[in-house]
């Protein structure tokens, strides 16, 4: 397994995709930080309570980059037909999937540390420059941990989605459209939105929430954060297993 992880990490490191994805994650994080910091300053000046939780835990922008990185994990193998030499070196397909998951988790952890740290740095610098007091209470430490886990799990979710769809373009379009369009739509369509809490988007939103569910209809009840997190893990695992069964179970011809 160690050899397999070394090989998979080398695969990622050998192209510049990881670097551009890191830049993208950084850019999205910086944009998100700028937005939440600006709102925090405005709230403080208006005498409203500052949402320190959102300020220090926002990670949805970086999650997109992690999702894309994960999506590339298996779809690249099929696109460039490197799946053939990969399976010749590692004929056990479940072992290969586990190795990929472990390798992408390693990268996702690095990305998550970078993005969480960048978000913190921007927020602290911005608020300090505007003389807004910093407050690390309000569940911030736990929220930061959850933001970190969200980023890592999103990478796994992307890997699973890529395993399921196999076609790189289709997986990218579906993944991004789901998180930005389809997921939010599911949360507002009457009749459907009650089930939103059980979707991957609803699960991750529940995991990251601190009890505040602004913007959701009254009949949408998110799960408890821990249950939401576990549900998202289950979604990621299910995609990995079903994707692995379907994509890697097929003949490689």
């Amino acid at each position: 397994m160690i050899n397999l992880i070394r090989s998979e990490v080398l695969k990622i490191r050998s192209t510049q995709v990881w670097f551009w994805m890191l830049l993208l994650a950084g850019a999205f994080t910086a944009l998100g930080s700028a937005g939440t910091s600006y709102n925090a300053v405005q709230d403080y000046r208006a005498g409203n309570p500052v949402d320190y939780y959102s300020l220090f835990t926002q990670s949805s922008g970086a999650a997109v980059a992690l999702l894309v990185l994960g999506l590339l994990g298996l779809t690249t193998e099929f696109r460039h037909k490197t799946i053939t030499p990969t399976l010749l070196a590692t004929p056990n397909r479940w072992l290969l999937l586990a190795g990929k998951a472990a390798s992408y988790a390693v990268f996702a952890i690095v990305y998550a540390v970078f993005c969480v740290a960048l978000n913190f740095a921007i927020a602290i610098i911005w608020l300090s420059a505007e003389n807004v007091p910093l407050d690390y209470g309000h569940g911030v430490p736990g929220g930061v941990g959850k933001a970190f886990l969200t980023l890592v799990l999103t990478g796994m979710f992307g890997l699973g989605l890529g395993a399921l769809l196999r076609n790189q373009a289709a997986a990218m379009v579906f993944g991004i459209v789901y998180f930005f369009v389809l997921g939010p739509l599911l949360s507002v369509i009457p009749g459907v939105r009650k089930g939103y809490a059980w979707t991957p988007g609803g699960a991750i939103q529940a995991f990251n929430s601190n009890g505040v569910t602004d913007g959701l209809a009254d009949d949408v009840h998110l799960l408890a954060p821990l249950a939401g997190g576990l549900l998202f893990v289950a979604w990621s695992l299910a995609l990995l297993l079903i994707g692995g069964r379907i994509s890697l179970g097929r003949d490689i011809s």
Partner: protein, 347 residues
């Protein structure tokens, strides 16, 4: 293009190493290197791509795996390598299926297609990735690149590689684990004449090291030069398998040309020879008794412009077997002239 590989990689036996040394080395590499295909069948929808195929590739031999496009060669190789699941039957290396090999790259080296590279990876990166997967030191990638003459292009991205360079990189990948068994699918595809010559040297190098090599190819002349055995496939079924000596038995042909060959034809028929008449009037007689034919011509006063023995040609045998123009019974000396002679018959 560079010269054929001449230097063995560290840890590999030098060409010409004694057989005992090779046997010991085979043991070190794991297994005897025998490939066994037994009643292998693959059905895609309603099409039987491979149909109850059975053959054995002996350790230390170079076996040509021959057949026209669509014969089922690649599907067979992919089943052997665990990439395609057989509908029924078995395909094993060292007595086990590929997935069960404890160290697959150290046991079998396989090159299946010339385009299985990430375009943004360099040749060296590509090989190092699989070195890591197999637990091999990274320097092994440099060694095999040198073996196939790609050292100069090691740090060039594979998207800039020519077809010949891709083939060489694929061959380099097969050697990473210094395996006893090599499986190569159409390695001569896209190679220029110099590349073909290099490939011939490469095969000789591998054969000299006593490796088991199974090579599918349309470059039959190249295969004939280096192969000990051939497995001929058509429409998913085995047509013929054996050593080249076995396959060539009874296929010797004597070619005769002259201005008036009818008396010779009759004399040959009377002597029990069979053959065909070419459109240009030449006789092709299924015998290697060239002196006997010459004597008959002399004793019957027939003027000859050409009398030669045609050597065994795997390509001719391949086409005759796979195109159905030659039945097995046709290959032996039998039949009576002139009925045995057909205008423009077997090639």
């Amino acid at each position: 293009m560079t010269a054929p590989p001449g230097q063995p990689a560290p840890g590999q036996p030098a060409p010409g190493q004694p057989a005992a040394g090779r046997a010991a080395d085979a043991g070190r590499r794991g297994g005897d290197g025998r490939i066994v295909v037994e009643n292998l069948t693959k059905v895609f929808g309603t099409q039987r791509a491979v149909d109850s195929l059975s053959f054995t590739v002996e350790p230390g031999s170079v076996t040509g795996f021959l057949g026209p496009n669509g014969a089922g060669k690649t599907t067979t190789l992919r089943m052997l390598l665990g990439l395609v699941r057989p509908t029924s039957g078995l395909a094993t290396v060292n007595g086990v299926n590929y997935q069960s090999l404890p160290k697959p790259l150290q046991t079998v080296g396989a090159a299946l297609e010339a385009a299985s590279f990430h375009p943004a990876h360099t040749g060296l990166q590509h090989l190092r990735i699989y070195c890591a997967a197999a637990g091999l030191p990274a320097r092994r990638a440099d060694e095999v690149l040198e073996l196939v003459g790609l050292t100069q292009a090691a740090k060039k991205k594979t998207k800039g590689y020519s077809m010949g360079m891709r083939q060489r990189l694929g061959l380099a990948a097969t050697l990473l684990g210094d395996p006893r068994v090599l499986i190569l699918d159409e390695p001569a595809n896209g190679l220029d004449p110099e590349g073909i010559r290099w490939l011939r040297g490469f095969f000789r190098h591998l054969a000299g090291e006593g490796r088991t090599v199974l090579v599918s190819s349309h470059q039959l002349a190249e295969v004939q030069e280096v192969a000990d055995r051939a497995v001929i496939l058509n429409r998913g079924k085995l047509v013929r398998a054996g050593t080249l000596a076995e396959l060539s038995a009874g296929t010797a042909t004597t070619v005769v040309r002259g201005p008036a060959l009818t008396p010779l034809q009759q004399a040959l028929a009377a002597a029990g020879f069979s053959g065909t008449t070419e459109p240009d009037g030449a006789l092709r007689i299924r015998t290697d008794q060239i002196a006997h034919v010459g004597h008959l011509a002399f004793t019957h006063g027939v003027e000859l412009h050409e009398l030669r023995l045609e050597e065994f040609d795997l390509e001719r045998l391949f086409f005759s077997l796979t195109e159905g123009e030659h039945r097995a019974a046709d290959l032996g000396p039998a039949g009576q002239l002139p009925a045995g002679y057909q205008q423009g018959g077997a090639r």
